[in-house]
Structure formats: C-alpha cells, structure tokens
C-alpha cells in the first residue's frame, strides 16, 4: 500500500508516522506542503505538530496550503485520509471533517497516555480492532475539545461515525474520564463515507512494545487487510 505523509513547517510527528508506516510495510513518501501534486497514494496522512505555530487557529493556515487542494481532491475521490492531532485540526479547517477542535476545557496542554474505547469497527481503519476493546494511546494537545452542531452530533452517533471515545480502563465513558471536554467523549470521527478519519490520540506512538505498547498497530494493519 502506498502512503504519503504531508509535511508543514511546524509538523513534529511526521517522522514518527513515517517510521510506523514503514515498519508496518507501507511504501511511504514524504510530501512538502508547497508541492502541487501528490505521489500515487492509497493513504494520505496529515501528521501532528504545530503547523505554522498554530497561528490564527490551529490548522487554519495549513488548511489553505497548495498540497491541501490535492488532498481535498483525492479525499473526495475516495482516497483514505488520516489526520492525527494537528492533522485532525487541519481536516476540520478544510471542511473535510465537520466540527471544530476547541481549546481544552481545563486550558492546559495535555500530554499523557489515556484509555480509548473502540466504539465501532466497521471501517477500513478499524476492522482489526474488537468492538468495546480498550486501548491505551498517547494524547498531546492543547486544542482537542471536539465541538459540533447538535444535528451533526446526532448524525455522528446514529451513523456509527465515532470509532473511538475516551473512557476509563473498564470502558466507562463519562465526564470524569474525558480529558479535554470533547462532546460525548469523542476522540476521533469519520466523514460520512468513512474514508476520512480524524483522531486526537497518536496511534503512531503505540507501534512498539519496547518503547510504549502495540495498541496503535491495528489501525494501520486494518488498512492492509
């Protein structure tokens, strides 16, 4: 499978995701944001970081870059797109995913491992996970508080477009184990065709038992299934 990782000034998880993809046998290329065409890609990843220093709003400037026009075109043609952390923020700023990521409710940058419950596995990204499985993934963000309209939230819930929610170790989902104030404990969402996934947690940091755990592996190997 061919993957492309888009790199902006200020991206800082681009190497991590490239290492994870190559480890899991993707043929990966790095693509600088000024490029006007994409290499042949089955998967496009918009990595985490602080593109353009989070100026204006997180992801706002990156969302208007040259390469994003190509990403939008490819996404609309059905190409798989994964936005992690700042990548999720960029996807909402381009409109590829609805909603917005607001400042964390406690106003603090949160960098820690949290429990994530798998809510829905019926997608190309999640088919190797088990429903209700509890993962431990790292989060590292200042704006991860997902917000959207009531109508869209209903759509997300009713159409199984929320694959991951913040929970506790036993899978309980409530305010207490919501790290950032995100609506309904949302940690990630799909578009309605389920080819675009936005995630606040970092699965690429969880692909090695020696330095963390392997809970992120299935997100990538699902795609190879």
């Amino acid at each position: 499978m061919n993957s492309s990782v888009i790199v902006f000034p200020g991206s800082n998880c681009d190497r991590d995701i490239a290492v994870a993809l190559e480890k899991l046998h993707f043929r990966n290329k790095m693509v600088w944001h000024k490029e006007t065409s994409l290499p042949k890609s089955d998967l496009i990843v918009i990595p985490g970081g602080f593109s353009y220093g989070d100026y204006l709003r997180s992801g706002a400037i990156a969302g208007k870059s040259n390469i994003l026009n190509e990403v939008i075109k490819a996404a609309n043609e059905g190409c798989l797109v994964l936005g992690i952390c700042n990548g999720f923020q960029i996807l909402t700023e381009t409109g590829l995913l609805k909603g917005v990521l607001l400042r964390n409710k406690n106003l603090k940058f949160i960098g820690k491992d949290v429990h994530i419950k798998v809510i829905d596995t019926d997608s190309k990204f999640c088919n190797k996970y088990k429903k209700d499985q509890i993962l431990k993934l790292n989060i590292a963000h200042n704006e991860g508080n997902y917000f959207t309209s009531k109508e869209h939230l209903k759509e997300l819930e009713n159409n199984n477009l929320i694959p991951f929610k913040y929970s506790d170790a036993d899978g309980k989902i409530n305010d207490e184990n919501n790290p950032n104030g995100s609506l309904n404990n949302i940690a990630g969402i799909f578009n309605d065709k389920k080819n675009i996934l936005g995630l606040m947690p970092h699965p690429e940091r969880m692909v090695d038992q020696i330095i963390s755990n392997g809970d992120g592996v299935n997100l990538f190997t699902s795609l190879l299934n």
Partner: protein
C-alpha cells in the same frame, strides 16, 4: 481604505480563556464585573475606493480564512 474586523465566539460556544480572565479580575477585587468574553481583532488596509466592494472583499477574507463560522461571528467597521 482601512477597516477593523472584530471576531467573537458565538454565544453558545464555551470561552474557557475568557472565563479564566473574568475569574482573575474578580479575584483581584473587580466585583462589579458581570461577564467577560475574549475575541480577536484585525486591522486591514485594502486597495479599493468603493466602500461596499471593499467590505465585501473583507467579508470574503473572513469567511475563507480569518473566521471559523462554526464557532465565531465577525463584524467589519470602517476606520
């Protein structure tokens, strides 16, 4: 022509930063302070002599980049 653009969070969107600023001012003894919301301000100069055209162009800038219409409102004024 020069314009100002005031960007504010929509009423039903939580403003945690504004809330902390408000609480701090209240803690400092500003006990008549009722509510405080934080926003953004831009000053934009534009090469256009027609005010309506200029305002339309700035509204376009707001919708395309400066403002996230899901959570923010904007107001353009000539200065």
């Amino acid at each position: 022509m020069k314009f100002s653009v005031k960007v504010t969070l929509k009423k039903d969107v939580l403003d945690p930063q504004g809330k902390v600023v408000q609480q701090t001012l209240q803690n400092m003894g500003m006990d008549t302070l009722k509510t405080l919301r934080q926003g953004k301000y831009f000053e934009i100069e534009i090469n256009e002599n027609d005010e309506i055209k200029a305002k339309n162009k700035i509204a376009d800038m707001c919708k395309k980049l400066l403002v996230n219409l899901i959570i923010e409102d904007f107001e353009i004024s000539k200065i």
